[in-house]
């Protein structure tokens, strides 16, 4: 009986997973998507526990409880600004699970032929993604230096380690006893994961996080081949293609290729460019002056960047949004695809502060609106608004699509000081006649703006 039941449950689970992704396409149905995913998972687990070859339950139940006890607080207590780190650590756990299952199966079942190939792919992806995600987590959590760590011959060293890991994987498939080669295979896979992420800097994190997501999915798919389990193949392929699409979107939004992101060590440009920054005069303004310009505006477009998240200024920004909206100012938020440290980071940050999502506008839609807008207010963003990407073909960010704030009538930029941005490129925007620099910490400056705007109402 149960032998007929579990394939049916698996089938329903796969259907629910597909629906979950389908429902994610709009905020109105997205929560239903989560429900579909949860139900699919439940059906899959129940179906698996019912299979006749599964006889041991006690330890599995204990593992469920321990996992839930760790997973739930991790999801419910974590501050929303830490979402990129959480994603990285979750990927590490997922990859570890896949790698351990592959390992157990290698020692248990003495696989050969296609099964062994699939297990090797699963373990390679699993172990690489495990350490890579851990290093990404360390960088995002600032346990490790966030700047790219580079040295001469790095790419050759990295590719050699990958080549050795893959060669050992092939060797495992050629020998009588793959378990003898296994420890070396694992060692080199783990090492490659670390080396892969070392040269990645903060601005490239969105692409890399998405790519690791894809690897974790492909690893689950490979496991599906090893276990001859179609549900795993489907779920893994969905996750794999999702991660891949997101990283392609991120690459396009930076006008860079995959190879360039993974082996280009973008942030190193910064050292060479820093010396050349000349001292040029800029116009700055006080909170009072800035507030009266905002108050007089009819339309304002706010451009948030990672600096907003660092300063935790989103709630103050909501207060400012409320005051301005109440006075009939049209306030919108322009979101660059790679703003922040993971895809969609800025949207979550603003949504957390209760800013309505219909006010968050994608780059392609809002760019035509800048010439009609009175004030563009940039908070904690730099390279994504740098006109050099359009005007200077020699710039390292040449060709990168940007938010065209330089088209606005007035540009205001909240910034701590005149230091260059992540890519280390000076920003022409700061020196334009219509630009006002608002020097200070994002949170305290927005607070002063809110105070000034409130005072102007009272007056």
């Amino acid at each position: 009986m149960t032998e007929i039941l579990y394939p049916i449950l698996y089938l329903f689970a796969a259907a629910l997973y597909i629906l979950a992704l389908k429902w994610m396409n709009s905020p109105a149905t997205a929560r239903r998507g989560v429900w579909a995913g949860e139900t699919g998972m439940l059906l899959a687990v129940v179906g698996t526990l019912l299979r006749f070859e599964v006889v041991e339950y006690h330890w599995i139940m204990l593992a469920f409880l321990v996992g839930a006890a760790i997973g739930a607080p991790l999801a419910l207590k974590m501050p929303m600004t830490a979402v990129p780190q959480r994603t990285a650590i979750a990927q590490a756990f997922g990859a570890l699970a896949a790698a351990l299952i592959g390992t157990a199966e290698l020692f248990e079942a003495h696989p050969h032929g296609f099964t062994l190939v699939a297990l090797t792919v699963e373990m390679l992806l699993g172990y690489v993604t495990f350490t890579a995600s851990l290093v990404a987590f360390g960088k995002l959590q600032e346990l490790l230096p966030g700047r790219p760590m580079t040295y001469r011959g790095q790419n050759i060293a990295n590719l050699s380690v990958l080549a050795i890991a893959m060669a050992l994987g092939v060797a495992m498939n050629q020998t009588v006893d793959p378990t003898a080669i296994f420890p070396f295979f694992v060692g080199f896979s783990l090492l490659f994961g670390v080396l892969l992420i070392m040269p990645i800097g903060g601005a490239d994190m969105p692409t890399v996080i998405a790519l690791l997501n894809s690897y974790a999915g492909l690893s689950a798919s490979a496991m599906g081949f090893a276990f001859d389990n179609k549900l795993l193949i489907v779920a893994g392929a969905l996750d794999g293609s999702s991660g891949l699409i997101l990283s392609i979107i991120m690459c396009r939004a930076m006008n860079r290729s995959f190879t360039n992101v993974l082996f280009g060590a973008f942030g190193t440009l910064q050292t060479s460019a820093k010396g050349e920054v000349e001292q040029r005069p800029v116009r700055s303004a006080s909170p009072e002056e800035a507030a009266s310009i905002l108050d007089a505006a009819r339309s304002v477009i706010i451009v948030p960047g990672y600096g907003l998240a660092v300063a935790q200024a989103q709630h103050k920004l909501r207060e400012m949004y409320d005051i301005l909206s109440k006075r009939g100012v049209d306030v919108r938020f322009a979101i660059h695809p790679v703003a922040g440290r993971m895809p969609g980071h800025m949207n979550v940050l603003l949504a957390e502060a209760d800013i309505p999502y219909d006010k968050m506008v994608e780059m392609d839609e809002i760019n035509g609106e800048f010439p009609m807008c009175d004030v563009a207010l940039v908070i904690g963003a730099n390279d994504v608004v740098n006109p050099a990407a359009k005007n200077d073909p020699t710039s390292p960010i040449a060709g990168m699509p940007i938010l065209e704030v330089d088209q606005a009538r007035t540009v205001m930029i909240i910034k701590r000081g005149m230091a260059a941005g992540f890519a280390g490129i000076d920003n022409e925007l700061y020196y334009m006649d219509k630009t006002l620099m608002l020097f200070g910490d994002a949170k305290s400056f927005v607070s002063s703006l809110v105070k000034e705007l409130g005072a102007q109402v009272a007056a």
């Binding site: 899959a44 041991e56 999801a75 699970a97 193949i233 794999g240 999702s242 991660g243 949504a351």
Partner: protein
Amino acid sequence: MHSYEVGLWIFLLAAFLGFELIRRVSPLLHTPLMSLTNAISSIAVVGAILVAGHKDASTLAKVLGCLAVTASTINAVGGYLITDRTLKMFKKRGER
């Protein structure tokens, strides 16, 4: 047809289906999308249960399997909960 051949066909179709589905997801929801697909990939728990609960499982397999069940449960529970928590925050004007 060998069963791995069937598997490859399924993989091919599911990957293309995934591309079509994800392409339609608004950039607004890219972060919750990532946590959701992450949770979905913790379906690896199925493999973990098969390894850990197998009637002929050795101690090594039981230990590795249970660790894998724990790791994927962390991922599943955490992933679904945070996706829902994130999505709850997305509101339209006037929905506050």
